[in-house]
Symmetry: C2
């Protein structure tokens, strides 16, 4: 039955997930760093090696205080207007109306459009992904104090592949801290080295899954056994620092975050860069693509 | 109306809470350390001062590996038997049947009874509380991996005072780590210095509140404004270390913990020591006392 429904895409699927009833961990079939390092590269050789081995890079104080103040003020303006705004690009907290994320910020806002094209940042992104990129998704996450809920463990690539049709692992996320991050206010946790393995998940994806998954993840969730194994191998890192620090992380690294009961909010800007050689196709789930504000298709 | 219902206890209540509609922060009216420090004291002068100022003390590697192995094995045995045991002393996770806590372990189990009377530990407890103590409550918290939920901010004393009738602040909790604790697996968070202020909470307590509050706290919860102020003054500490480390903390320190999505469980033994000069009376709420396994009354 399932075979009859296979699209051309699924036949060529090198990272099948949510298809079988059985869990599987398969090795990554793609490079991590797509450029040859030279002394002219945008990162040091140590940084390049660290990213290759661990799947992420932490850049402390990447932005100046002046730049960060501008981003903070703009993010705050967006949050206030989002409270009374009922458009698609706004996602709220489960069980409350508080704004959790605003999407497509590089399109709807001039300040964040400029940020998304920051030359020093772009040089690093293009070094890692080996040339020209485009933005697959962007958003601000307003992780509120007191009631900030966890994001469960996931590989972004698993979702982008199954639900958006991203063929290969040639994308990365850039997380810019708009506030000081501490180890106790629900920071990003990554499993170093987990980007070199692909955890195929069980179950099929319901239609319009995105409407719920952005609030609470239920499909595309790795099992306890796989997570235990990955953490046993790589441990857990929590790259935290002052506002203006940046974490770049591979599309396939296993990551998540705990809840945040502290009074300290933890707003971050997220921008996902994808290689122009890796543009999205039909979703590998065989289902309708997710909306434009979650996964760009226009103008590809 | 409320006045007519006041018991004798409530008239003498120096820490009124859940009585008024208004929030209030009042200064502590009791000492923190009840003994005069001398070179013969069970702690150093620095440790004594640290506890007085911050409201807690972290003792790394307090127990030997051998002792901890025994505690771990016994805790595991208790958890396994608790899974199929439907007695009162077992509290489960919200939304699952997994065992969250087993109470009264110093009574139902010989290993933990011995632990609760550990001479080196007792010497410190008696130094801080100024003489003889008894156990108000004891439990193992099995904070499971993957789905461990948060404990929201609270002062234990607020609950013990209102619901158990503990008159003054002359008690402390002892938390013994049965596993290595990390900053990312939902460790205890404390607000240093918060033990010197009492946050009176809003609202009255429903009857049999304990049945729900041990799973999910809803009453006796401090408001956002008070928490923000306390954290602004004292910050947040997360005393973490290897299995066998001990945290002693004052009954009135504001504390809580975030969720734990990591695979790493975080079992702890909790023992609450109260001064014999501070035995519980009628609950200040005017309601029925909580059960014996949560707050000892027998033999007082």
């Amino acid at each position: 039955m399932l075979n009859e429904k296979l699209t051309l895409n699924q036949e060529l699927d090198v990272y099948p997930s949510r298809i079988k009833a059985k869990l599987e961990i398969i090795p990554r079939k793609d490079p991590v760093v797509y450029s040859e390092w030279t002394p002219e590269s945008a990162v040091t050789e140590e940084q390049s090696d660290f990213y290759e081995q661990n799947g992420y890079l932490f850049l402390e104080q990447f932005f100046t205080e002046e730049e960060i103040t501008e981003f903070q003020e703009e993010a705050r303006r967006l949050q206030i207007s989002a409270r009374t705004n009922r458009t698609d690009v706004i996602v709220r907290e489960p069980n409350s109306d508080e704004v959790r994320s605003v999407f497509a910020i590089h399109r709807i806002n001039a300040v964040f459009q400029k940020l998304s094209r920051h030359p020093r940042l772009m040089a690093i992104v293009e070094y890692i992904l080996g040339g020209q990129t485009y933005i697959h998704q962007s958003r601000i996450n307003y992780k509120p104090g007191f009631t900030g809920k966890e994001f469960y463990w996931h590989s972004d690539f698993e979702t982008w592949h199954v639900e958006d049709g991203m063929p290969r692992m040639r994308a990365l996320s850039c997380s810019i801290a708009l506030e000081d991050n501490f180890h106790y206010n629900g920071p990003l946790m990554v499993v170093p080295g987990s980007h070199k393995q692909f955890v195929a998940c069980v179950g099929t994806t319901p239609e319009n899954h995105f409407k719920h998954s952005l609030r609470k993840q239920q499909y595309g969730v790795p099992d306890d056994g796989s997570l235990t194994e990955l953490v046993k191998q790589g441990g857990i890192d929590t790259p935290v620092g002052k506002a203006g620090s940046v974490v770049l992380f591979d599309c396939n690294i296993m990551h998540g975050s705990n809840s945040n009961i502290t009074p300290l909010t933890r707003s971050n800007v997220f921008i996902v860069y994808n290689s122009v050689h890796n543009k999205v196709q039909e979703p590998f789930s065989g289902q309708r693509p997710r909306p434009e504000f979650i996964a760009t298709r226009k103008g590809l």
